[in-house]
C-alpha cells in the first residue's frame, strides 16, 4: 500500500472513531441528564444532608474575635442568641430568652431564659450570659463584638439574679432596644473561663481545636473539619427549639460546607448537582446560565430583593488632603459631587454593570431595607446640561484645546479613582463612571488595587476617590454608627473625626444620636429620613445602583426563609428540609 491511500484510510478511521466517540458521549449525556432528575416521591421533613459551598475556609472557630464569613456562617449553625432579628420579617423574636420585660424608661430589660443545655449536656444558665459579656468587654480578649454591644460608647451592665434570669441595663436610652442582643454570640463559661482568666481567650477555639471541644447551643455541632476541603456539621440532639408541631429541630441530619474558592467552579458544582446551594448571590452574568436548569425544575433561582449594601463612590473629604492641592477648591464642594451624580445615567449603569438586574438609587439606604428606606430623598436626574451648569458655577470651563475642563488657575478637572482589583462589579462601575464623566469634561484615572492595599490607603487618607463597598450586618441604621457618625471608623470619606469637620456632618451626628436614643418607631423614622435628606444633599458618598439579588438553590431544598442579609439562607438552617438526594452520575457527591 502506498502512502496516499494509507493516509486517507487513517483520516477515515480517525473520523469513524471520533463519530463513535461522539455518539457514545451523547448517549452517556442522555443518561446523565436522566440521572440528575430530581425525585419528588420521597418527600420528608426530617433527615437528609444539605451540601453548600463556602468560598474560603475559617481562620478561627472563635466568633468573638473573628468576623470573617466562614466563622459567621458557623456561628449561625452552632450558636444561638438570646433574641434574634428574623432576617425575613426584620422583627425581633425570642431565642434563648423565652420572654422579657422592659422598664418604664426602656433602659433595663429583664430576660427569662428557657431551659436549654449545651451540646455536651452542661445546662445553659445566666452565668453563661454574664460570662459572655465579661469576655466581650475584656480588652485582653480583643473581641470584635465589643463595639456592637455598646450604647453611647458605654458597655451594657449585666447581672444574674438567678440561674434563669438576666437583667441588662443600658447606659442610655437606645432605640433598637433588645435587638442589640442579636449580636451577642453566647460563650460557654465551663469551656472558656480558664482561657479568659489566663488572657488567652483570643487564641482559644482556633482551627486546630478538636470539634468535640466546640460545644454548641445551636441546631448543629461541628463533626469534622478537613482543612482546605470542608466542614461537616451534624444535628445537635440537645437543640432547644421545636417546630409548631412539637418536632425537635433541626430537620436536617447533616450540613456539609464544601470549600470552593472559585466562583465559576462553585457555579459548575451547583449545575452538576454536587452542591445544593450557593453561599453568595448569583452574579448577574450567571443568571442566564442557570435559567435552563430552572426551567427543567432542577434549580430554584430565588430573588431575594434589592441589595442593602450598594457599592459607593466617594472622594477624600479630609481637608488636610487638599490643603496644598488646588483641586480641593472644587472637589470639596458639594456642587461638584452633585454634578457627578447628574452626569451618570443610572439606568444605563444598571444595564452595563448588573446586566439590567439593578435599580437606581440616590442614597445608602436602598428599597431592600423596607423599614428605613426613604423614597423622598433629593434625586439627581440624568442631565449632562445640569451637570455642566453646576461645574461652570464652580469656575470649571474648557480653557484649552483638549476635551477636559480647567479651573481658573488652569488646573485640569482630573482625579484618580481607586477600586478593588478582582471585583468585577466594582471594576465595571469604575469604568462606566469614567466614561460617563468624559462628556462633562472630567477626566478619571482608574487604578485597581488589591483589597488590603486599598483599605490601607483608605485608612491613611492616601487617596483622591474610591469606588468600594461597605457591608452592614443589620437593617437598623442605629446599629451602624461607624458609618453615619463623623467619629466612626466606617465614616470612610473622613474617618474618625475628633469633631465634625462640616456643619452638615454635625447635623447628621445630632440627628443620629437622637434617632438612636428614641424608642418611638415613628419618631426614629422621621429623624432618619432627615439624615438621609442631608446625606443626599451633600453626597459624601454617591450611590448609583443597587443590584437585585438572586441565589441559586437545588429544587430538592425547601422550607427556606430567604433574606437579603448574609447568610441569605443558612441564617435559618434549623427549619430547612431536603427531599431525597438526586441521583447524579458517577460524579455525585
Amino acid at each position: 500500500m502506498n502512502r496516499q491511500p494509507r493516509a486517507l484510510l487513517s483520516v477515515l478511521l480517525l473520523g469513524l472513531i471520533a463519530f463513535m466517540g461522539w455518539r457514545w458521549w451523547s448517549s452517556q449525556q442522555d443518561h446523565a441528564d436522566q440521572g440528575t432528575e430530581i425525585v419528588f416521591s420521597d418527600v420528608s421533613t426530617r433527615g437528609g444532608v444539605l451540601t453548600s459551598s463556602l468560598r474560603s475556609e475559617p481562620r478561627s472557630f472563635n466568633r468573638w474575635v473573628d468576623r470573617t464569613s466562614p466563622t459567621v456562617f458557623m456561628s449561625h449553625l452552632m450558636q444561638s442568641t438570646l433574641v434574634r432579628i428574623n432576617r425575613s420579617t426584620q422583627e425581633v423574636e425570642p431565642g434563648l430568652a423565652e420572654s422579657w420585660t422592659a422598664s418604664a424608661d426602656n433602659r433595663t430589660f429583664t430576660l427569662t431564659l428557657r431551659e436549654a443545655t449545651w451540646s455536651d449536656g452542661t445546662p445553659f444558665t445566666s452565668a453563661d450570659v454574664v460570662f459572655t459579656f465579661q469576655a466581650i468587654y475584656d480588652p485582653k480578649a480583643g473581641s470584635i463584638l465589643a463595639g456592637s454591644l455598646q450604647v453611647n460608647g458605654q458597655p451594657l451592665v449585666v447581672t444574674a439574679p438567678d440561674a434563669r434570669t438576666v437583667v441588662i441595663g443600658f447606659p442610655g436610652s437606645f432605640g433598637p432596644g433588645i435587638a442589640i442582643l442579636d449580636n451577642l454570640v453566647l460563650a460557654p463559661k465551663h469551656k472558656l473561663q480558664a482561657a479568659l482568666a489566663a488572657g488567652t481567650f483570643a487564641q482559644t477555639w482556633g482551627v486546630a481545636t478538636s470539634p468535640d471541644q466546640l460545644v454548641s447551643l445551636g441546631p448543629f455541632v461541628l463533626a469534622r473539619y478537613e482543612p482546605g476541603q470542608r466542614l461537616v456539621f451534624e444535628r445537635n440532639p440537645r437543640y432547644w427549639k421545636k417546630d409548631a408541631a412539637g418536632v425537635v429541630l433541626p430537620y436536617l441530619d447533616q450540613i456539609v460546607l464544601d470549600v470552593v474558592p472559585d466562583q465559576d467552579a462553585e457555579l459548575v458544582r451547583l449545575q452538576a448537582g454536587q452542591i445544593d446551594m450557593l453561599q453568595q448571590q448569583v452574579r448577574p452574568e450567571d443568571i442566564a446560565t442557570l435559567r435552563p436548569l430552572v426551567d427543567q425544575g432542577k434549580l430554584q433561582l430565588l430573588e431575594l430583593g434589592v441589595g442593602t449594601d450598594p457599592d459607593l463612590f466617594f472622594f477624600n473629604l479630609r481637608p488636610e488632603r487638599w490643603a496644598k492641592d488646588p483641586r480641593g477648591s472644587w472637589i470639596m464642594r458639594r456642587e461638584f459631587r452633585q454634578a457627578i451624580s447628574h452626569a451618570v445615567d443610572r439606568e444605563a449603569f444598571a444595564n452595563t454593570v448588573f446586566l439590567g438586574a439593578g435599580v437606581p438609587i440616590w442614597g445608602p439606604i436602598t428599597p431592600g431595607n423596607q423599614q428605613w428606606f426613604s423614597p423622598n430623598v433629593p434625586r439627581y436626574s440624568f442631565s449632562v446640561e445640569r451637570a455642566k451648569a453646576l461645574l461652570a458655577g464652580l469656575g470649571l470651563a474648557n480653557r484649552d484645546a483638549d476635551e477636559w475642563l480647567e479651573d481658573e488657575k488652569g488646573t485640569e478637572a482630573r482625579f484618580t479613582l481607586l477600586t478593588f482589583r478582582g471585583n468585577t462589579s466594582l471594576e465595571r462601575s469604575a469604568t462606566v463612571l469614567r466614561e460617563d464623566l468624559r462628556p462633562i469634561g472630567i477626566a478619571v484615572d482608574v487604578v485597581a488595587l488589591e483589597q488590603g492595599a486599598l483599605i490601607e490607603r483608605m485608612l491613611k487618607g492616601d487617596f483622591e476617590s474610591i469606588f468600594f463597598f461597605f457591608s452592614s450586618s443589620s437593617f437598623d441604621p442605629a446599629m451602624s454608627p461607624d458609618f453615619w457618625l463623623s467619629s466612626g471608623s466606617g465614616h470612610i470619606w473622613n474617618i474618625g473625626q475628633a469633631t465634625p469637620a462640616t456643619e452638615w456632618e454635625k447635623q447628621i451626628d445630632d440627628l443620629m444620636h437622637q434617632m438612636t436614643a428614641s424608642v418611638a418607631p415613628a419618631e426614629r423614622k422621621r429623624l432618619f429620613d432627615q439624615v438621609q435628606n442631608i446625606f443626599a444633599e451633600n453626597l459624601p458618598a454617591i450611590h448609583f445602583v443597587a443590584p437585585r439579588m438572586y441565589i441559586g438553590v437545588s429544587s430538592r431544598v425547601s422550607s427556606l426563609s430567604p433574606s437579603i442579609l448574609r447568610p441569605q439562607l443558612l441564617w435559618a438552617a434549623d427549619t430547612i428540609t431536603v427531599r431525597s438526594p438526586p441521583v447524579t452520575g458517577q460524579g455525585g457527591r
Partner: protein, 322 residues
C-alpha cells in the same frame, strides 16, 4: 561527587533562605497587614493593640532577625491568620500538593516523553502532525481555562467529581476505599496540571530526538545492524533525555509553588492555595513558610534531576569524573 553534592546542598539551603527572606520582607513592606481587613470595624486603639499582640508594631529589622533566629531552630513561626505553627500548616498542605504534583508529573511524563520520542523520530506523517497540533493547543491554553474546561467536562458528564480531594464521607472510610475515593478526585486537577507539562515535554523531547537521531553514533549503530526502532530506543533516546531531564527540576518547583490556579478552581487543598490566602491576608510568616517550601522542592528536584541525568547520559558521568 561528594564535594559536588555538598556544594549543591549548600546552594539549596541558600536558595531556601533567600527566597523565604525575600517573601517575608516584601510582604512586610507591602501596604496593609493581617489586621487591615478588620480595620473598618475596630477602633484605632483596638487595632493597635491587636498589631502589638501579633508583633507587627516592631521594627522590620527586629521582626526579621527574630524570625531568622527561629528558622535557625527550624521554627518558621506561627501563622497570624490561623494561629497555628507555619511548619504544621505547610506540612499538611505540601503533602496534598505532593500527591497532586506526583501524579501530574507521572501523567506528563507518560504522555509527553513517548509522544515526543515518536514525533521527533518521524520526519513526516499524520501521527506526527496530530501530536504537534495537540501539543500546541495544550501549551497555548492557560491553566485557568484548562482547569475550568476539565471541571465543566467532569460536571457535564458526571464521570468524575468536580472538585475537592476526597468526598464528604471519605474520612469515615477504610484505607482502600479512601484511596479509591482519592483516585477518583485526582484526574481533573492532575490532568489540568499535566497537559501543558506533557506538551512542553513532548516539544522538548521531539526537538532533542531530531538532533539525536542524526548523531554519528546512531548511524553507526544502524550500520552495526540495529533496526530503526531499536537504534532510537537504545541510543538516540537516552542522549536526547539530557535536555529533557534538566527541565524536571524546574517543573517540580513550578508544581509546588505555581499550581494555585488549578488548586483554586478544583478546590484542591494544597500549598498554592494556602500561599494565595496567606498573601491576600498579608500573613508574612505563612508566606515565608510557603515560599521556603517551594524553594526547597525546587532545589531538591534540581539536585535529583542532575543525579538522574548523570545516570541517563554517559557523557555527563565522564564530565563529572573529569
Amino acid at each position: 561527587m561528594g564535594r559536588y553534592l555538598l556544594r549543591r546542598l549548600g546552594f539549596a539551603l541558600l536558595l531556601v533562605l533567600v527566597v523565604s527572606s525575600a517573601s517575608l520582607l516584601l510582604t512586610r513592606l507591602a501596604p496593609g497587614d493581617v489586621t487591615t481587613e478588620q480595620a473598618l470595624v475596630l477602633d484605632p486603639e483596638a487595632r493597635a493593640r491587636l498589631r502589638a499582640e501579633l508583633g507587627l508594631d516592631r521594627p522590620l529589622a527586629v521582626q526579621y532577625l527574630t524570625w531568622l533566629g527561629g528558622v535557625a531552630r527550624l521554627d518558621f513561626g506561627r501563622s497570624l491568620l490561623y494561629s497555628r505553627p507555619v511548619s504544621t500548616l505547610v506540612g499538611e498542605r505540601a503533602l496534598n500538593t505532593a500527591v497532586l504534583a506526583g501524579v501530574a508529573l507521572l501523567l506528563a511524563t507518560v504522555i509527553g516523553l513517548p509522544l515526543g520520542a515518536y514525533s521527533g523520530s518521524q520526519s513526516r506523517g499524520l501521527g506526527r502532525a496530530v501530536v504537534r497540533v495537540c501539543s500546541v493547543i495544550a501549551l497555548s491554553v492557560p491553566p485557568l481555562i484548562g482547569s475550568l474546561a476539565l471541571v465543566f467536562l467532569a460536571a457535564r458528564t458526571g464521570w468524575l467529581p468536580v472538585g475537592g480531594m476526597t468526598s464528604a464521607s471519605g474520612m469515615d472510610q477504610a484505607w482502600p476505599q479512601w484511596l479509591a475515593d482519592l483516585a477518583r478526585h485526582l484526574p481533573v486537577p492532575a490532568l489540568a496540571l499535566a497537559l501543558p507539562l506533557a506538551a512542553t515535554l513532548e516539544r522538548l523531547q521531539s526537538e532533542a530526538m531530531v538532533k539525536a537521531v542524526h548523531e554519528p553514533f546512531v548511524a553507526a549503530s544502524r550500520a552495526r545492524g540495529l533496526g530503526p526502532i531499536q537504534a532510537v530506543i537504545r541510543h538516540a533516546w537516552p542522549v536526547s533525555l539530557r535536555s529533557v531531564l534538566g527541565l524536571y527540576g524546574v517543573m517540580i518547583g513550578a508544581l509546588f509553588s505555581g499550581s494555585f490556579v488549578v488548586e483554586v478552581v478544583t478546590s484542591w487543598p494544597g500549598l498554592g492555595r494556602l500561599m494565595y490566602d496567606a498573601l491576600k491576608a498579608r500573613d508574612l510568616y505563612l508566606v515565608a513558610g510557603c515560599a521556603a517550601s517551594g524553594a526547597f522542592f525546587l532545589a531538591a528536584a534540581t539536585l535529583l534531576t542532575d543525579v538522574l541525568l548523570a545516570f541517563a547520559d554517559p557523557r555527563v558521568r565522564s564530565e563529572e569524573a573529569q
